[in-house]
Point group: none
Chain length 369, copies 2
């Protein structure tokens, strides 16, 4: 059950609602500054490992900015989704449109040439770049050249993005995944936060170095993806009797990345505290639902911007990892939206219905005015 | 007229609503177990041939599972539709989206390359594979190689599917139908239930061996498709004065497959009992309506899972063929949805309107909570 508006003082903290966003170039500098602090432990004071039901609603309220008429397009977040291939077009659309529906200003998709017209047709709101290539369309002798071109096409946009979502509908074509590995390296080089989901997790499980030790990486596995990660990294099977401990170990083993394990309760850890989010939710498990969550890095962006801008105050500060806070907020928002959709649609609830409820979910928790 | 909720004790049987689903590999074993029982007569006690108006609403209530938050994506059913060519794209979409709207988790479509972008654009909820080929795009000398590739592309997914729907918008291209014949053989080899509709029935009428004697095959002919089947198999014309007897003979002649003859009343038989479903319905006969029914194998899946899991209790057990029960439930659900759509849309009722009413139809008959 959600607490009422105004019940929690944190929600009304003016400091949590009165900050401005910065330009792209400055953002890079701030990201670097954040990384230094995060790695040095100046901001995070990782001294305890506890299990706690996160106060997700309060976090969401605290990080959601006041709408400010003086801002211009792009200042409320620019997201890029890397995904969409010959087989899959729905997943990247769900991720990209979800970011817009919860308040981001611009949402890009980088996909294959086959997928682009379809994803464009789902919504005129998205900016879709048909730049990725799959093996079947590239001759062996062209691969090196094509790969360099693909990576350059994405990289020229990189500094503009506040967050990269890698994986929804990516597929598993080896050539495509090689290109995406290079894109992830570029993103990391530019200190752009990376959310990894779907087939991006397949890639990461086989190439852990892509995210290992990167504090701005978030992995969002479902049941099967989590199983693969545990088997690959911890060399054992999933142990639900010690779900919190195992999640914490997994995050630690990948160098302190943040992991959001989707499930009946969502579990979130960076190797330190394990948070769970259990509010609301829906019993439907339709395909695509998870893509909404990977498309909510807008919330992650908000939290990071707190830190970059030095606005971190008692609530979202000091001993809290901003990527963990972003995950908690994203989880709460999706679960609330899913429960709103289920109220009306019941067994016929589809991902599109849940996305339609994202705005109301945010408004219910945190009214615009 | 539908009976009120709670009128029938069967509807509230907790055993009928509290079962869990199993993994794909286990599903294959269970399908095999079912086949053995079905062929050996252990489960079916086919001793009488009667004509009866099915208690479709009670069946639907009894087989619809409780929504369980502990389940994960895919456990409530994964359906694949084989159909969609240069000319037809609506039919496979109707079939695939209908499965999702009545509760399945994932719905795939395997179609030609021309059809794929269009079907994808209808809905981001579907996973559409552009793998089928028609004669015009394949040179004579390439056919064998292309056919093998097409069949392999579908087969690598086969074990994941709980049901295959063959035929909506398939067209009649000879090369394409040859490939689909091989796909059906693979499905049968894997004991995957097959629902055959539309041009799939044209294929089957000319290649009866594809379904002959397969207890997990369901044919869903409309007036013309039924006429062709009767002419081909029974070597006579349709005799409406002996509709039940002729349907029963037809099913027997095809080795005990289940046939759902669509009409003013839907008639269902596996060569044993002939059931009719007459509730609700709509006087509109818009194109595509039948595709909803072929897309409702989700219900068939539910009934089969009862048997696989040994949860078959007095109502859906012993002397009832699960494919027949699935057809009765699907028929009732569609007829109710069609009548709901007609209440609002009258003469302008289209298939899309009926699909939009599937959720309410299921909820009216069997509330989610």
């Amino acid at each position: 059950m959600l607490v009422n508006h105004g019940m929690n003082q944190l929600a009304s903290l003016s400091i949590a609602r009165s900050y401005s966003f910065a330009s792209s170039i400055a953002a890079v500098l701030r990201r670097q500054s954040f990384l230094i602090r995060a790695r040095g432990g100046g901001v995070h004071n990782k001294v305890h490992s506890t299990k706690t039901e996160a106060d997700a609603v309060s976090i969401l309220r605290a990080i959601t900015p006041t709408l400010d008429p003086t801002r211009h397009k792009g200042q409320a977040g620019k997201i890029a989704v890397i995904g969409g291939c010959r087989e899959y077009t729905g997943a990247p659309y769900f991720a990209a449109i979800s970011a817009l529906k919860i308040g981001a200003d611009l949402s890009h998709v980088f996909c294959t040439k086959d997928a682009a017209p379809v994803i464009k047709s789902y919504s005129p709101e998205l900016i879709v770049h048909p730049v990725l290539e799959e093996s079947y369309s590239v001759r062996e002798e062209e691969r090196k050249q094509v790969s360099a071109k693909v990576v350059a096409e994405v990289d020229k946009w990189m500094e503009r993005f506040d967050c990269l979502v890698v994986g929804p509908g990516l597929g598993r074509d080896p050539f495509l995944l090689d290109c995406v590995s290079e894109i992830m390296k570029q993103a990391r080089h530019s200190n752009v936060p990376i959310v990894v989901d779907g087939d991006g997790l397949f890639l990461v499980a086989n190439s852990l170095h892509l995210v290992h030790g990167y504090p701005l990486a978030v992995l969002t596995p479902n049941v099967n993806e989590y199983k693969r990660l545990v088997q690959t990294v911890l060399k054992c099977e999933v142990d639900d009797a010690d779900a919190h401990g195992q999640l914490s170990s997994l995050a630690k083993q990948i160098g302190g990345v943040t992991i959001l394990r989707k499930g009946r309760s969502d579990l979130i850890s960076d190797g330190d505290i394990v948070n769970s989010v259990s509010i609301c939710g829906s019993p439907r498990r339709c395909g695509g639902q998870g893509d909404i969550l990977s498309g909510s890095p807008f919330l992650l962006v908000l939290v990071l911007q707190y830190f970059y801008l030095g606005h971190a105050k008692p609530f979202v500060a000091a001993d809290r990892n901003p990527t963990v806070l972003g995950c908690i907020a994203g989880s709460a928002l999706l679960r609330k939206a899913a429960s709103l959709a289920f109220e009306t649609r019941k067994r016929s609830t589809l991902t599109t219905d849940i996305i339609e409820c994202l705005g109301r979910s945010l408004e219910d928790i945190c009214p615009a005015y």
